[in-house]
């Protein structure tokens, strides 16, 4: 049967690492095959990231095809920075793991 792809966590195929730079957070996401990267690059737009992480405000996205990776900078997520933030996870250490746990439609043949 061929229905729409089943929703599974992004982390089934993608790794991530996140951290802080002053009041901004960065979130790098990578996958391990060229086909997965083509899908990721098309799927994980800034708009899609904001849907998956509604806490995000202004976001920049950079492509690193050599690493099969996307890097996002989430501006102002951490207020005035680690030493002052009252945000849950003030250094955005687990932002990447949160993203990996969000469910998205990943084509069967890429999993």
């Amino acid at each position: 049967m061929s229905a729409s792809p089943k929703k599974v966590p992004l982390g089934v195929i993608a790794g991530a690492r996140s951290g802080d730079k002053g009041g901004d957070a960065n979130l790098g996401v990578w996958v391990r095959t060229d086909a997965q990267y083509e899908w990721l690059r098309a799927e994980l737009t800034v708009e899609r990231l904001k849907e998956l992480l509604p806490e995000a405000g202004e976001v920049d996205r950079y492509e690193l095809p050599n690493l099969r990776a996307l890097n996002f900078v989430l501006h102002g997520l951490l207020g005035e920075g680690v030493a002052s933030s009252t945000r849950f996870d003030p250094q955005a250490k687990a932002l990447g793991e949160w993203l990996r746990s969000r469910h998205v439609e990943i084509p069967e043949d890429l999993r």
């Binding site: 690193l64 095809p65 030493a83 250490k93």
Partner: protein, 413 residues
């Protein structure tokens, strides 16, 4: 080839890593990063209390236990543990009396231009470290240099790179970026941790070649893993645009090539271009005082319980400067008390230390007069100071980057 290892990714990292790196296998240089943005604030406060402090004291203890061994093995030590007082740290290392040739790098302190800040430090590059090593130093301590400079400096000194060897400098910068967070390159904090043995990752080593390319590896027999995935994870840590700006070179992360190797991962192909003529400055200031409490709300009426305690606290000290979050960790009809409970967090940030204390009192005084089942995860304290970080930029020519060589000779970098 030069083997550069890392034994610390932050002030507080595994104390025994220095010994593990010295005794676990071959090494030419051992580096350690001790300075996060927040650490500058902590060290700045140490310096306020005692002008002789302001450096990472654990590093001094690590040297006390391991420097003789490093000297015997001919392993050079390069670290930014000098914090806001590299000269003080160099003197303390001299006082260990082990006969090491100690040099330090200074000039990063630019508080004279930012008098409102507790700390103001320009991110220096690798050339001061390279001067110290070329002059025969066994130990080089610095203040605020970029983390990658701890790796670039030894490579530049070893190979005699010039300031316009941008590709080589960029290659070494990428190796330095991989190493600067210690075990985060070798399987620590790694998304696919279930696929490796992440129990006790070894610390990373870069075997750097004359062209700036490198092999990322770790000592034989240590835990964790060095794969294209673990290295990619660290390459993506705390970066912005692919043009990664440093004081000595702009390293183009979109030119990095990773190839699996039987002992780890090869990094090659990195392109570099000239750096800007400004240096980034890390500014920290004391922002005030912070205090927090977590109320446990168990069972029924969680929203109403949260509303009651919030009204009570706000009536006691006023609603200003409070941040409330209710984490609905509770489950309906739960079969353990913990999974029946939600957590209500409240934090105050205020310039007034008395108000931070009043916040704690207000929380305690509710103990017999609030919602049913009232308790907190820990009694609130008096509050702690918090810092505010920001970045600024200054002309490179205005920063007096200096290497103070063993014996005291000063070289303008």
């Amino acid at each position: 080839m030069i083997r550069v290892g890392n034994a610390s990714g932050f002030y507080g990292d595994r104390f025994s890593a220095v010994r593990e790196m010295l005794t676990g296998g071959e090494l030419d240089v051992l580096t350690g990063d001790y300075l996060a943005e927040l650490t500058m604030l902590i060290l700045g406060r140490d310096r306020m209390k005692d002008a002789a402090l302001g450096y990472a004291r654990t590093f001094l203890r690590q040297l006390e236990q391991n420097l003789a061994d490093a000297l015997a093995r001919g392993v050079k030590i390069v670290s930014n543990a000098g914090g806001v007082n590299p000269e003080g740290l160099a003197e303390a290392i001299d006082r260990l009396g082990l006969g090491a040739k100690v040099a330090y790098v200074t000039g990063d302190d630019v508080r004279d231009r930012f008098p409102e800040s507790l700390t103001a430090n320009a991110y220096l590059g690798a050339w001061g470290i390279a001067e110290c090593l070329s002059a025969g130093a066994d130990v080089v301590v610095t203040g605020r240099v970029t983390d990658a400079s701890l790796v670039v400096g030894p490579a530049a000194a070893h190979f005699g790179w010039g300031r316009e060897d941008f590709d080589a400098l960029a290659g070494a910068t990428v190796a330095g970026h991989v190493l600067e967070c210690g075990a985060q390159a070798t399987g620590g904090n790694y998304s696919f941790f279930t696929a490796i043995d992440a129990t006790r990752p070894g610390f990373p080593i870069a075997e750097i070649e004359a062209d700036g390319s490198s092999l990322i590896t770790k000592h034989d027999g240590t835990g964790g893993a060095v794969t294209a995935d673990t290295v990619t994870a660290q390459l993506l840590y705390e970066i912005g645009p692919p043009a990664y700006v440093g004081p000595d070179v702009v390293s183009h992360f979109d030119t990095i090539r990773l190839d699996p190797h039987e002992r780890g991962v090869r990094i090659s192909g990195v392109k570099g271009s000239p750096p800007p003529d400004t240096l980034k400055v890390c500014l920290t200031t004391l922002g005030g005082f912070r205090n927090s409490t977590t109320f446990v709300l168990t069972g029924l009426d969680v929203e109403a319980k949260a509303d009651l305690v919030r009204r009570q606290v706000e009536a006691a000290i006023g609603p200003a400067e409070l941040t409330w979050t209710l984490a609905r960790t509770d489950h309906v009809d739960a079969d353990t008390e913990e999974t029946a409970s939600a957590l209500l967090h409240v934090t105050i940030k205020t310039a007034d230390p008395q108000r931070a204390k009043a916040f704690a009192r207000a929380g305690v005084e509710l103990a017999l007069a609030s919602y049913p089942g009232f308790h907190v995860t820990a009694p609130p304290g008096d509050g702690t100071p918090f810092g505010v970080y920001r970045a600024a930029y200054v002309p490179r020519s205005s920063v007096p980057h200096r290497a103070v060589l063993p014996g005291g000779k000063v070289v303008e970098v």
